[in-house]
């Protein structure tokens, strides 16, 4: 098994854990954590493909990962802000109760 395949397996495992968390958790914060896990699995893939790709001397993969982390941080800040705002408004962070926008 090549080192790349090992990285990919770890990333896939991480993604599956994150997806399972996002789909099954009722708490909005835990869902956000699941989403962060899936993002980091993608970041791991980016780094792995860069390191074992045809041009490891260029910094493209690293740049991608850094941008992705920055975007994820912004996204986490917005997401947490939303969760806090919802909690203030409805006194709960249960996603099943958040169905007001249903058509």
């Amino acid at each position: 098994m090549s080192p790349l395949a090992g990285y990919l397996l770890v990333a896939a495992l991480l993604f599956a854990i994150g997806l399972a968390g996002a789909l099954t958790r009722r708490n909005a914060i835990l869902v956000l954590i699941g989403i962060e896990l899936m993002l980091n699995a993608a970041n791991l893939n980016l780094i792995a493909f860069w390191r074992y790709g045809p041009h490891p001397e260029a910094l493209t993969g690293m740049m991608f990962a850094i941008f992705s982390i920055a975007v994820a941080a912004a996204e986490a800040a917005v997401g947490l802000g939303l969760v806090i705002s919802i909690h203030r408004h409805a006194h709960t962070t249960d996603l099943d109760a958040m169905n007001r926008m249903k058509g």
Binding site: L19, A22, L23, T24, V31, L95, D96, M98, N99, R100, M101, K102, G103
Partner: protein, 693 residues
Amino acid sequence: MQEAISFTPHVAASGIAQILWLIPAVPILASGVIALLKQPKRRTAATLAIGSLGFSLLVASTAFAHVLSGWSHGAAVRETVNFTWFQFGSTNVDLGWVLDPLSAVMLVMVTFVGLLIFIYSTGYMAHDENFTRFFCFLSLFAGAMLGVVIANSLLLLFMCWELVGLTSYLLIGFWYFKPSAAAAAKKAFLTTRVGDVFFLLGIVWLFAQTGTLLFYNGGTGSMEATALGGLLAQHACWGLTAAGAIGLLIFAGAAGKSGQFPLHVWLPDAMEGPTPVSALIHAATMVAAGVYLIARVYPLMSAGAQLHGAILGTTTALTVVTWVGAFTAVFASLIAVAQNDIKRILAYSTVAQLGYMMAGLGMGGVAVGMFHLITHAFFKALLFMGAGSVIHGVHEEQDVRKMGALRATMPVTFATYAVGTLALCGVPIFFSGFWSKDAILESAHGWTVSQVPYYLLVFGAVLTAFYMTRQVSYVFFGEWRGHGHAHESPKVMTTPLAILAFFAVALGAIGTPAWPWFRSFLNGVPAESDLHAFAEPAWLMLLATSCVIVIVGIGLGWLLYGNKPTSAEEPDVLERAVPPVWKALSNRLYMDELYGATVIAFYGWWAKVADWLDRRVWGGVVSAVALLTRLGAELNRFLDANVVNGAFDKGCEELSTGGGLLSQMQNGRVQSYLRILALAIVALVAILIWSRA
């Protein structure tokens, strides 16, 4: 295509002829203004009506003076102002008015008598709560009547004619809360309509033949030689020329308006209206409109007559006019003998005198008939207003048997009434009625066709003197047989009586054989005075006949009724002498019953037939159609309920179920959306992998 009225006089007319339209227009305008007044504004209403008619009298007098001055300069004045009312295709419908001796004389008579009656009405109607309405109608009538007089177009004349009929209806039914008045108004309206239908037919026929309804239009009018020649060449039916047939149709209209037999039945009933109305409309002016109409279309009536020396021969139309007139004169006089209502006696007398006028027109021409029309207008208006004064004085009593000895309590009314009576009886020399009736008898004596009308008219004259003596004896002589106290009427009522009485005497002066001013004026020839005419044997014979008529009539009347009746319940002298004749006469010779048994019964039967047809035949057809429609509707309903509705409902249900299913997916839970997203991606990846392999 109707266009705006273009005011283009075809013939140059003098200033007074140009403004002749003001004569009818001002009273009609006044009536419009009065209609808008509130009920308590009595003084304003009366002032407006009297003022407007006074203005018309002023204009009419000016017009009369204009015609008179033209005539004295040796020119027969006939000025017309015509204009096109509207056009359709190449046909013009023209209206216009005419100023000639005939219309000038009528204008002055109508406005003058009308004015006196208006003034009299302010006294007679003083206590009526509908005073303003009365003057509104009266003004409208005066305007319409003056319109009839000045019309130079048969169409304009017909319009005003119908307007006159309408106001007559309104005024007869003025006291509409009395059932008898309402019925009389309807009767008058419907009976005159019968004549008017024929009149309208005549108008249409004349228009079809000549293409114009103008009387005079510089040679192209329907009463002028060219048109009449064309009408004479046309043969209608039963040997009549078109001119004769149209003349007869127009005469039917005139007979309806002027109460000629057999259309006279409405006139006596018309006495249900207020007495000034009877005087103005049903004695002096409107009923004379028929006579005036015949005088106006006289060229048509006499078209084709041969001249026998100086005497004009006759035509079929004129012969019919004469016979109808003469018969009516005797017929109505006979009925008048046995009436007890003071106004009804006068009404039958009016019918009879209109018969005289018609006969005079038929045998002697325009001047003879019109002279009697003018004198009659004055003395009959006088008699009616005198009767009104009597009715007013004895507290609304109209039965002559319940009056008596009024000569002491109502001296002015008695004096003027006596003058009117003597004029109506035709007392020789001093009264206008003598001269005008004399002229009619003279022309009847010289009539070439038959002497029978002459004897009829003489007999009628005897009857006239008789029934008037009877009436005067009942009302003014004998003993007081009524209730309460009689009183003389106020000045506003007696003054017009005095003025009319003056004219009832004085008017005779303009139509004597020695100085036939009136006849010359109407015919447009210079008047010559010739005292030798009084010495002619024919005229002396006639004078003697008149004397005998008057002496026999008045003498017989005085013998039977003078001072005789002592109580109101006492039967009439004639009733005791010849009961069956009396009964027939007092029942108006059963004319109303005859109409009831024939025309009205026929209409009743016809109405029943129509009703049966309506109910059974047309009703059945309509019901069948309705049934079919209902059947169709039922079928439709069934289809709707079971087929269309079922299919539609099912479709709707399916749609709504589908919608429900779909909406379950949109449950608003983010995680379930995400779950589906994840499953879809897994499926996509699986497909990609397997398709690669």
